[in-house]
Symmetry: C2
Subunit: 217 residues, 2 copies
DNA sequence: TAGATTGTTAATCGATTAACAATC
DNA sequence: TAGATTGTTAATCGATTAACAATC
């Protein structure tokens, strides 16, 4: 599955391809050319072909790309052909929002448990997901290994929780806290720094540019 | 305030500089060199100097940068020297999570109102913010103009709401819905596509790279 | 003054776009 | 076969890093 190393810029675009192909599939479209897709996605056809060819030739000259095939292949590249166990650390609104969002489960991300230090929350079942006290984290994970942890807690405890999670075998950290985390090599950290996102809006409101939408996370 | 056009890559890094400088300030650090800062932030000193010089010389040879001064200047560049009125469209967990997060207000983003189509929500006050029915949007905005709208609603209604918001004078859209929005020129859209962020984690779990943390949003 | 560190130019590296021969 | 469109190489553009003279 892992051929030559794929550039960060390409990886960033893959989920967007996946989304557009999913929509095309839903609309019953069977084939699409890089040119048509480029029109819809607002990127160049050249970039699409260049991107896809990182993974091998999915297309056919004179025909284009088979939508379903390409969708499946990108899904595999993204690792969506398996499931991932996810725990949520911090059962506040943000944690619940994530737990609640059904589309993640559809893609294979299964939310198993939430953890919170607030005693009044533990024992509850929120949106079908049990909340445990943070003190139970290691015990829980030793019996129910998790692939990914979402950190939806105050930044003060993010680093400490990360260390505990990594020690307990979690390999991916989805970090919503406003800190940069130190992790051992091999551990994946994906940051969602909402306040930075918001500041980019204020910047752009005050400094009009050409066009284009903002980045995503 | 707007000199030559600043590259997207630089703008993306500005909030992170701002965050690190804020922390240094809190720690009572008065001056810092690009070299020291580069060590903390894990980027090159050269890049820091290059980035900052887009906006003019904030430093002093032989001394470095005055932390407070640089913090204030980057704040101004980011447009944080004024306040922004924000409305939230969709009063679910995600909307409430955002409304709830006090740090945004500290930076000048003031959440004024939430809107939701669910009749049982309107009339309520959630975290001190009133929830109105979506039908009231135009009436409300004509009396209480907003700069920014956060879209925390299902993707099906995102485009329609965007059109209404833009027509009512909103200039910045913070889009949490999983669609790309069409907007007139001059309107700022900042996407936070959480599912794409999550897929990048699964990709990276299956395709180990060298190092480095994931992008943010 | 000597030492430190910036501001800035030049060199390198990487990513995007253009072009076109291969081929379905 | 002729037309369409890919896969891929080459050209361009942009961003990052290195180097160093200017200067505090």
């Amino acid at each position: 599955m892992a051929q030559k190393t794929i550039s960060r810029a390409v990886v960033k675009r893959l989920p967007r391809y996946y989304r557009y192909l999913g929509e095309l599939m839903n609309d019953g479209v069977e084939r699409i050319s890089s040119r048509d897709l480029s029109g819809r996605m607002n990127i160049t056809a050249s970039q699409i072909r260049q991107d896809l060819n990182n993974f091998g030739g999915f297309g056919q000259q004179g025909y284009g790309y088979n939508v379903r095939h390409l969708y499946d292949e990108i899904g595999k590249i993204l690792g969506l052909d398996r499931t991932y166990s996810v725990v949520i650390i911090g059962a506040g609104h943000l944690g619940q929002a994530i737990a609640n969002y059904g589309n993640f489960e559809r893609r294979g991300f299964v939310f198993r448990a939430m953890f919170d230090i607030r005693p009044e929350l533990s024992g509850q079942i929120l949106n079908g997901i049990p909340v445990y006290p943070t003190s139970m984290l290691e015990t829980y994970l030793s019996k129910n290994p998790a692939d990914i942890a979402a950190l939806t807690l105050p930044k003060e405890s993010a680093q400490e929780m990360t260390a505990r999670l990594v020690a307990a075998g979690v390999r991916g950290i989805w970090n919503f806290a406003h800190v940069d985390l130190d992790v051992p090599e091999g551990i994946v950290v994906e940051n969602v720094h909402l306040s930075e996102s918001l500041m980019r809006i204020s910047y752009r409101l005050n400094n009009p540019e050409g066009e284009e939408q903002g980045e995503n996370g």
